[in-house]
Chain length 302, copies 2
């Protein structure tokens, strides 16, 4: 599992800071999360292959999280994309993108499939044999979802030495991976756990931006490996966080602690702060394993 | 008159090239022309004060000319702009911007006034005592206008030595600037031209992008001081220019020559060409005074 931060600042793109966008590589997927203005340029800068992106998740319709989508969708067209593109976003974005396509007479030559989100309770919005993605309803000024990405438990791993010693036919290997006991060539039952090992522990990633401090998300993100939680403000601007429905670094740390997250990544900083290290200092006394998102930074969780 | 090129490439923004946007400073105005994705960042990079921009002219609704507008409009709001903002653009853009504002629940706290363009003949769209702006209907795949910016002839300039020698009362200075003969303190008629000088020659700038080669624009841009004419392609890709309704550098030069322009600036290059100097080489045999637009380049015409 690998996370690339394309942008992690709030409000407006500036010469040296990008609005929210990140790429989560998990189980051979390249998921794009949020798409502020300039995201397509940051994808190039970070050498993310455009063709790898098949699913885009948009948290909410404030500009710093979605104004880059129409440009990316158009660029995909110019690059003669053919693969389907799925966009999971609050209801309304489909209308915006469709209207702009219509006005520029530039219909996509690939299938652009919108999954319009309206639910205020967590729902499963994507699933395949390796991964599932749930919404995390957040508390913001407009309808907003975070996203929980969960690897599924994989198959058991064969201990090939043990398998060969036990003299098991190749046609039984599949059943072994699925956890069954099997018979060997001599007709003796081989207990599964004597010839297989546990699969890798499934990893999970929760993206929570933008949101006020909200304990209602705790049951959804419980025990998540990596939590990205917005910290637009520091405690010194707690009132501002409250009135704009954002969080402070301290509040993000509390959520990380209460949810028993493995790692906390802070981001969505207001551009009023020059020194990001203070965010870390504010969070660490409550949650030790705190990291700072930085534009262009890559986190590896393997 | 000063022109700053924020972006001069066609199609998609890339790491080192920006889509179309430029700033024309003329008679104390700061006009923004086109607004591709990332324009607000380029405005910052080129140190153009956001508050100076009161009029934005959008040629057409292809993304590389307008996808940056909604972000700029939003940023103006975050910067607590109060001054009116006028946008001159093809019909449809108002609907796009309004829809996005509505969905993000972010109405502007300043007046955002759209002047929706639909005419297929040249029309006067802005005028004050110093400047007038006309549309230049262009020939492109969708409804497109270029823009002609013309300084008005200013007042005559007082030759102060001559005025004082002629013993003219201060209250007559205004009439002198307006070109009238006046009486001096002794009651003698003073001929205007003996105490005033001609005003500066009014300057003009024509922005023509995107367009196929079209001689129909010649009467509108005749004798223009500076002509920006798109040259998406070179002659080696003439067929491509024709099928996509763009121009070659040679065709741009022909238009500059036939319109008796003072200076030709080429731009809107396809990113397929690495070496821009070939555009200049192709145009110069037909029109000597050819210059190349480059992102971040400033042209002074004083």
């Amino acid at each position: 599992m690998k996370l690339t931060i394309l942008g992690c600042y709030s409000a407006t793109p500036r010469t040296n800071t990008n609005p929210t966008s990140q790429v989560l590589e998990i189980k051979n997927h390249t998921f794009l999360i949020d798409c502020g203005e300039g995201t397509q340029v940051e994808l190039r800068r970070n050498k993310i292959k455009f063709s790898r992106i098949k699913h885009i998740f948009i948290s909410h319709l404030h500009g710093d999280h979605c104004f880059g989508l129409v440009g990316l969708v158009s660029t995909f067209r110019l690059l003669t994309r053919e693969a389907d593109l799925h966009v999971y976003a609050p209801k309304g974005l489909k209308e915006v993108i469709t209207l702009q396509m219509k006005l520029s007479d530039s219909w996509t030559n690939y299938r652009l499939i919108f999954h319009e989100l309206t639910s205020t309770t967590s729902e499963l919005i994507y699933e395949d044999d390796k991964v599932e993605v749930y919404t995390i309803p957040l508390e913001h000024r407009i309808y907003t979802n975070g996203f929980l990405f969960k690897e599924k438990l994989g198959e058991r791993k064969l201990d090939m030495n043990a398998v060969l010693n036990a003299d098991i036919e190749v046609s039984y290997y599949r059943k072994l991976k699925q956890g069954f006991d099997v018979e060997n060539r001599q007709g003796a039952v081989v207990e599964n756990k004597t010839v297989t090992r546990d699969p890798n522990k499934p990893k999970s990633y929760a993206f929570c931006s933008d949101t006020a401090y909200s304990e209602s998300i705790l049951p959804i993100i419980k025990d998540v490996d990596v939590l990205y939680h917005e910290s637009t403000f520091l405690e010194q601007n707690k009132e501002l966080a409250e009135s704009t429905k954002h969080s402070t670094a301290k509040q993000a740390a509390k959520i990380a602690k209460m949810s028993n997250s493995g790692t906390l990544i802070l981001g969505h900083y207001s551009t009023r702060y020059d020194d990001l290290s203070i965010f870390k200092k504010e969070a660490e006394p409550i949650f030790k394993n705190t990291k700072l998102a930085v534009d262009g930074k890559v986190f590896n969780f393997d």
